[in-house]
């Protein structure tokens, strides 16, 4: 993968993270939380399984930790685990329907949110937030899947 493409991937993830932080301020009152940055990362691993492996996931995660100010290594750990899980199922995705793929990534984002909340919001951990966000992130995945595919066709070389 070229540096230019890596930069494009990184910019999309950072932009989605920024969008996350803007939207989630209002959503948290209703026990909802987007994880758009994570879903965009998942999209790239899902659509470019031969280009994004462990080290790329680790570096992207570490950069996000630095930018967001979250505990150092948290996103790196979760991104690396997620990358491994997606790689493990990459051949299975070929026979999955869009609904099955959506459920898979909604579950993965719930796992991500749950883990983030365990570390960053231990005292006020909410199962309701994780549960409701499963549906929200499922819907978000469909949107990301469509938009990012268009982005990939146009900008990714």
């Amino acid at each position: 993968m070229t540096l230019n493409n890596l930069f494009k991937i990184f910019v999309t993830i950072i932009s989605a993270n920024y969008l996350d932080s803007r939207i989630n301020i209002f959503m948290l009152d209703y026990y909802l939380s987007f994880s758009l940055g994570f879903l965009v990362f998942c999209f790239w691993v899902f659509s470019l399984p031969n280009n994004i492996y462990a080290l790329t996931s680790f570096i992207i995660g570490l950069s996000i930790d630095l930018i967001l100010g979250s505990p150092f290594g948290l996103n790196a750990l979760l991104f690396t685990i997620s990358s491994f899980v997606i790689h493990s199922y990459r051949y299975s995705f070929r026979i999955f329907s869009l609904l099955q793929i959506t459920i898979f990534f909604a579950l993965l984002s719930s796992f991500y949110l749950g883990f983030i909340n365990i570390f960053m919001n231990t005292a006020n951990f909410s199962y309701l937030l994780i549960f409701l966000s499963f549906f929200l992130n499922g819907l978000a995945w469909i949107l990301i899947y469509i938009l990012m595919n268009k982005f990939k066709k146009r900008f990714y070389r």
Binding site: F58, Y89, A123
Partner: protein, 279 residues
Amino acid sequence: MARIAPGNTPKLAYTLLLVLSSLFLYLDLQYKSFTPTKNFFNSALLSSNLLIKNIFFKPISNLYNLTTSKNDLIKLNQSLEDALEITRIENFLVLNKAKLFKNNKGLINYIESSTITSLYEIAAVSSFDTNQYKCCDSHRLFLFNNSTPFKEGGTVINSEGILGQITDSNNRVSEVILISDINHSMPVKLNNFFCNASGTGRPRILECKYDSSLWPESFSIGENFYSSGLGGVFPEGLLIGDIKSIRIDDDNQTIIEIESAANPLIQNHVMVIYPNDFK
């Protein structure tokens, strides 16, 4: 049947990086090893943000304002807004003078040994992650330093009351831990009842936990809690907030939820006061 791990997934690399990231996480949570790196990055980010704004965006917006002949009015409005914010904070200081300047032997000793000379300083908020404030346990605020960095332990107030205290400073910015942060605790009082109000990680909410068999006190919703001054950081007798709810937990301990009077979201300017303000 789904394959668990295809042959060409580099398991060794994944394992190594998982161990490495876990190690990073452990070091950061346990020993805060990466805090200087994060602060340096934050500081660099803020400086570059400011530079880009001043060099690129401000001239463009000024150009637009000139064409619409509103530039002067906008500037005047901005300066008036800033002045109003500062006056509000200073009013708070004047109104609470009797409490803020209360004599305290322990604190006087501290003041005499202190090298800090300024009475108070007005500071501008450089960044505040509102998303983290609403979602997570960690409630931190960053201030632009004035000519010198703010000293650790300085009390940060706005026009409504106490926000928190300075925990860390570098050349450009200072970090403030808010009183609602999960790791923050401060001594408070209500008449003859004293307790440590700990941050809950929820916006503006503090919690006081005590054994009701040892303190047979009765409280009602809406009663005001004040700082007790026993910690030596916050002045005595300042309004912290009022009782929002009272409940009994599984260990038969009474938990009083206090809603802080000060909202960190209302102003872009705050005031930092030091223990030698009590003189």
